[in-house]
Symmetry: C2
Amino acid sequence: MKNKLLVVGTMAFDEIITPTATSGKTLGGAATYIGLAASFSDADTGVVSVVGEDFPQKHLDLLIDKGIDLKGVEQVKGGKTFYWKGKYHDDMNKRDTLDTQLNVLADFKPKVPEHFRDASVVMLGNLAPSVQQEVLDQLLPDSNRVILLDTMNFWMDVALSELLEVIKKVDIITINDEEAMQLSGENNLVKAAKAIHQMGPEFVIIKKGEHGALLFYKDHPFYVPALPLEKVVDPTGAGDSFAGGLSGYLAAQQCASPEKIKEGILRGTAAASLCVGTLGTAGLEQSNKEDFLAQLYKLERLRTIASK
Amino acid sequence: MKNKLLVVGTMAFDEIITPTATSGKTLGGAATYIGLAASFSDADTGVVSVVGEDFPQKHLDLLIDKGIDLKGVEQVKGGKTFYWKGKYHDDMNKRDTLDTQLNVLADFKPKVPEHFRDASVVMLGNLAPSVQQEVLDQLLPDSNRVILLDTMNFWMDVALSELLEVIKKVDIITINDEEAMQLSGENNLVKAAKAIHQMGPEFVIIKKGEHGALLFYKDHPFYVPALPLEKVVDPTGAGDSFAGGLSGYLAAQQCASPEKIKEGILRGTAAASLCVGTLGTAGLEQSNKEDFLAQLYKLERLRTIASK
């Protein structure tokens, strides 16, 4: 029996404009990227999310084919799926949101399926903190459960107190560098991580995009570089892929020791590298475990002094 | 007998303004930082440079006390030392040059002392490419010699053809990310490194400041993170300290295999971490080999999965 990873997050239609490409209306959403990335690890992954009647069966089939349990995904009759449109600058670290339509997400009440209430690892993807909280409230008590949370500046702006309530309860937070500084009020990552530790999470992972990721654990830092890529087509979903690679690995290992979390960061980084080379979810969709392991190997070589 | 490292670069008066501190007129210059950082390694380091009559003996004594041979440093009677004044933005990755007075540097003709013409490692610090070339011209032939070069965008703007001539002859180039893109005309670091390989250097090291350094060797990348620091006081000289830590180590090892160069990048990174925590050269001046090794150890922990 595989270990269970429960994921909550958005499923969406994205419309992405990069300096070199446009996606049209395509599959997106945090839970989608997390689920796809987690599928490289040997966990039993279930998603809690919501879509509209307009959400095509082929998208659902794609995820089911990847071994993802969608019994927690509600499809709202007559409803429209969450929609996001964004445009990246020439410097793809920057993007503007052109349109957001919450649609069925506005009234979303997550329902964790019975068979995922004992999940050993829970990944709270980027979403309203109140929804993340509602998921936690439905879980069976388990003092060994590992809870991860990803969030973004939007929730700090509009729902900070709810967000802080959820952050108290998580073991591992993944957050990008600017957002870590916003959340902590510090303009230095070491100080920001210390402040975020105080909020609850024992493990603070700061995502720095093309510059890699930094784990702070008891103030000891650990660094994983991103793979240098000749072509970055679309950064959308890179952070979610990271979270999926990490949380999928922790579930498969049934262990969240510092060493396993560091290994998980390597896996998250490898998943993200498969994500950004194509538009939208295409890179994750088209990659199998072999492709994933090849990236993981490149990442190990990137960190290794000995030549072959 | 120790192995010889020959360094060419500026010696200067710097006046540095950061968001939190001002240095007044203080010791600076690429050769100064390189020499101080190289002194953490067990090499016989000699500097070729020029200063004015206004350059205080205490600065020279400081370097001599660190074991640096200054017989190649010309002191021009009645001349004034090169002066640079710069101001950092709140984002200390950005700075403005407020004043530059070349003074004795304008007519500098480097003279490599007889006993350094057989140096096994040569570090061409950031300086006019014509001066870097004149140093190479004075060396005794040695097919095993390792030549490193550091440069900046200014020389690409005003002396590109001379710069390209020198670059042809070097084994290792250290250059920051933006400058690598300017030199290559590429807007991607992997492509930029490939293009710079074509110009001559077998080893291309791209410095990314707080985000670490990337080595490209036969298109295989190797990454060393910078140490996360709670307080960065002054980034001046960080790149020169990196070059000094690297080149000093290669000289001491009398070997520039890919493995030694990777180890050298760790040493350069450790030296840079000692530099940026204080104004000007104070951090390097006050640090001994023990402090240096402590940074090196922290850097290894930063890259290591196993806990203690």
